[in-house]
Symmetry: D2
Subunit: 343 residues, 4 copies
């Protein structure tokens, strides 16, 4: 029998009980649809407490939606979006950013999923030349798809470069909570205080059922956003059920508890796997993902019992994700299995 | 104090308790994300029981999403989508169909929201002429935005015309359940058996929290749809929570009970309002909406207590929607208020 | 044998000899491609003499291109473009405006191809409502597709309305020269002085081989236009050959001579046809087109000798276009044939 | 004084006299617009003589237009177009392919602008996975932007790979004539006979004023293309003037004479530059471009007299293009200047 929890993805987990309770509590009579309701007002207020009094916040159905809407708000179709080659927007959204914004993505290879300023400079050589797309946005994932995390000072360096070059800094924060928990900082330290312009704030990977927020730190970028969201088919009618989830997540530090727990479980898993000479951890474990080269012959044996993805077929690198509901027992059982198999 | 339920829209209602229970029951351990899970398999199976063994079913976040995805699957950008001028896709989706499909909408004025074959013929005069967009889809709303309903034979007439002219018949079924309940027919009678090609099957307006289905009656149209859905940012990661809702809706006739109740409440409301000489009912009440001309001076007085929308400012026509949770008491209290005010 | 000139369209004519000579003269050695050449500098200078010292001018390949680029420069995809139902952008560009801008076109029925302010007001009822596209541009054709012409004061009324409502006034000037010649005014009087914001200035229908100009009367709208033009595949590499044509057209009043002649020929044709009781002229003849109801049985007989289009199959209304090279003999021969046939 | 011809680009040249004569000859009376004319019929016939009796041929205004239209005909928006990182469609069309097709471009680094089959295989790892764009087209430039040329067998290898993997082979043939002349083969040998599916056939870089052809070797791909062309704003009204140019180019081997001459001039230039130890030729000279590293200090001195572009700022690599009108004297004068400067 398969265990009830695996390591395939943090979106294989269900919904945190506190969030489920908040959903239930919001199911009370009629409220106006599309966000003009008290649940949404409260959630927005909580976002402002965490991220800054003047941020503009809009909820959307999902992560791809939040990313493409935020990028659309920042771009004209002849512009370009710079991102790491491994970015979710570059490889895992089936071309949604190109389709919805019309922009080209300029993807930069990195060893660890993190963009550096030095890599960006050559992309600005042809600014003003009409034959070339014009860079407008730097988009980073925080935490990255490789489980690594940008420090506040790394983000500030990107933001400064952006500002100097008339670019905007966009953060795909599907795992922003994991990043903040890992860095032991508040959410504001890696967003507003670091110079971020637009943020996709993830809910589903941190214990919500569905729902993502697009946060603008410069209100002028949000001027037409309500139309962009509706035209992008990301305006939920029964908005209160997303808002109630976000309120539960941001209140009472649930966002932090969930993320910290998932991160801790990843640390624990990495520590154990690192002891096995047959496996090689390939990335720093800074959030809730562990990347490791697992000899090819072991993989099907492990996958008989646990879901997880092979990240790189060529190198036989596997990805193991933990989530808010991963238990120490889950790690122990899985590690025990790995040990049995690799021996 | 405002009453807890109003008549603004069926999406101002919350979630039906049976659906809420199904969501809770689905929150059990890990399952694979994006639809490869047993909840989704079961929901698809139920759809096939209702609509035909060979239909292809895909779940999406919302109604606008379901519409634009289904239309994209059926069109090339140089083609046109024929619809009533009042169609949701024409007026209430902020241009999402044009943006996502690239197509022009050819909108046809109607007295009651319903397209007739005779209106469509002139639109085919220029087929083959490269300067003109080429009609490809007839899109109807069932029930319509005016609360009216296409009979099976009206749909069949449109489907025959479509087939003869190499067009497809698309149904925006945000209120398909209300239509079926009104007609006292099975869902199949107004979809598969009537010759419909593509259906947006609505959940949120009939007691679900969120979630809409795109149903293809011709599987060849669905061949690339999984990519279209992902690129359209409508692929939910924790799919099981939509699937569980649909399963609850389709099982045990909940879809029918909810719709029938909402329809009955609309009938009751219309009967009462029709008795008042100051008001004029403007549309046949065939689903869960009542349209009535309410003299302008009464409207703010009514809106102090009840949410509802003025549909047409010029004629002072108001729209009153009922939903699965509208009670006979709600109707009675509202009607009592109307009577007090108009006297 | 068919005569060498017909009445099908002004783009069935060839190239005026002065323009052909200018093309030949520009074929001299190398110049930098894409517009950084002396021919283009001279043409832009001439445009500024005619339309205002501070206009921004960009050349494009064709009329549809010029229209969609100009509209793209003025809009975001959630906005709407208001136009007459007969507008070229609405019916004769195969959906290019929708595809390239993402916008919806709000088309207004008119008896004569001309928009009036009173028709526009109801379209602004829902400004600010996120479910509806937001009107941003009023686009008029000058001369219209029905051969009629907006007077300067009619344009000013539209421009004032536009300004009051945060809209822009776009002119599809495929036949702007015919309109100015008809009104006996300078080009500036029906563009800059009338409050026009963006103009497609037509070349091909007035004696050029190819080439159209997009003129911005507010330079801020043109800021990113060079990229829009390139991304829209409308940046000619050997630009000088368009520029030389425009210089020939604008210099020495050729634009006016050609347009005036075409208009005069249309007047002559209309006068003669009006004498025949079997035919009914349906539109005022204010530019180079004549619309007339011609009994159905005569049409094939006429088309054996002359190309022309039936504009409206239902009413048997035909369109006869004259061009810079139409001769008085052409009119006389055609009228003689009509007389022979209708007797 | 600057010489009248430079080495900046083959589109800095004017129009070949035989083509200019053909344009003049086509300026005779009226013909139907948009391609239903005898000039177009003749040009299409000539294309079929060169490329195959059953090819479908459509003329467009320009090269970017031809590329994006051809790619649109072959793709759905969730698909991907594989190309060399240096491809014109990837770097020099301001994102037009992404904007018009909605597709992502998957760009592959190459040393010489040429794709190899081995590079393509890893891009097919995720076929069928809905989160990833789905490769559909391999697009190659022939000759490449680096002046190199695919041999017929190299093209066949790509075509076989394409066929085996349900991909199409697209050729950006802005310089297809130079490639054929270089390989000493007929046009058919590197298109139809090599398994090409779609070809942009260039005119402007080989002596035409404007005009490009999109050629389909599989007619089923062209089924809706007339609409795509119109919606793409690439349908010339006075088509005959493009058609007459293509007829002149394809008749009497002008295409070959022009290309061969340009290639010969490039060879001559490369031979001379190769003798100078201060310069390094960086690419094989297989068409009409010469790439050479020129020490940075010499470049402004050369550019005082001759236009040319620095291809790579970092390596100080310059690009010198020859054209149909480059003379042996032009080469000699330029080389003499280079010698004076580098000494």
């Amino acid at each position: 029998m398969k265990p009830s929890r695996s390591f395939a993805s943090d979106n294989n987990a269900g919904v945190h009980p506190e969030i489920m309770a908040a959903i239930g509590a919001a199911n009370d009579g009629h409220v106006i649809a599309y966000g003009d309701d008290p649940y949404t007002a409260r959630a927005v207020k909580l976002f402002r407490q965490h991220l800054g009094r003047d941020v503009e916040v809009f909820f959307a159905f999902g992560g791809t939606g939040a990313n493409v809407l935020g990028l659309k708000a920042a771009t004209q179709s002849h512009q370009a979006i710079i991102c790491a080659a491994t970015a979710h927007i570059n490889v895992d959204e089936c071309g949604a950013p190109e389709k919805f914004t019309g922009c080209k993505l300029l993807d930069v290879p990195t060893p660890d999923g993190k963009l550096r300023v030095a890599q960006l400079k050559p992309l600005l050589h042809e600014v003003g030349f009409e034959h070339h797309v014009q860079p407008r946005v730097i988009s980073v994932s925080q935490a990255t798809e490789m489980g690594t995390v940008y420090t506040p000072s790394e983000l500030k360096a990107l933001a400064s470069f952006a500002q100097e070059n008339n670019l905007l800094l966009h953060v795909d924060g599907a795992r922003i909570a994991n990043a903040a928990a890992s860095l032991k900082v508040k959410l504001k330290a890696i967003t507003r205080d670091a110079g971020v312009d637009i943020l996709s704030f993830g809910g589903a990977k941190n214990g919500m059922m569905y729902g993502e927020a697009v946060v603008f730190f410069d209100a002028s970028l949000a001027r037409d956003f309500k139309y962009t969201r509706k035209q992008g088919a990301q305006l939920p009618s029964k908005m209160r059920f997303i808002s109630a989830q976000f309120a539960a997540l941001l209140d009472n530090e649930l966002w932090h508890r969930n993320a910290l727990h998932a991160n801790d479980m990843a640390q624990r898993l990495a520590r154990e796997l690192a002891k096995l000479p047959q496996l090689t951890i390939t990335q720093r474990v800074e959030s809730n993902g562990v990347f490791a080269i697992v000899p090819k012959r072991y993989i099907p044996l492990l996958q008989q019992k646990y879901f997880f993805y092979v990240w790189n077929e060529e190198t036989s690198e596997a990805r193991f994700m933990t989530s808010f509901d991963t238990t120490a027992d889950d790690i122990a059982s899985f590690v025990a299995l790995v040990k049995r198999i690799v021996k």
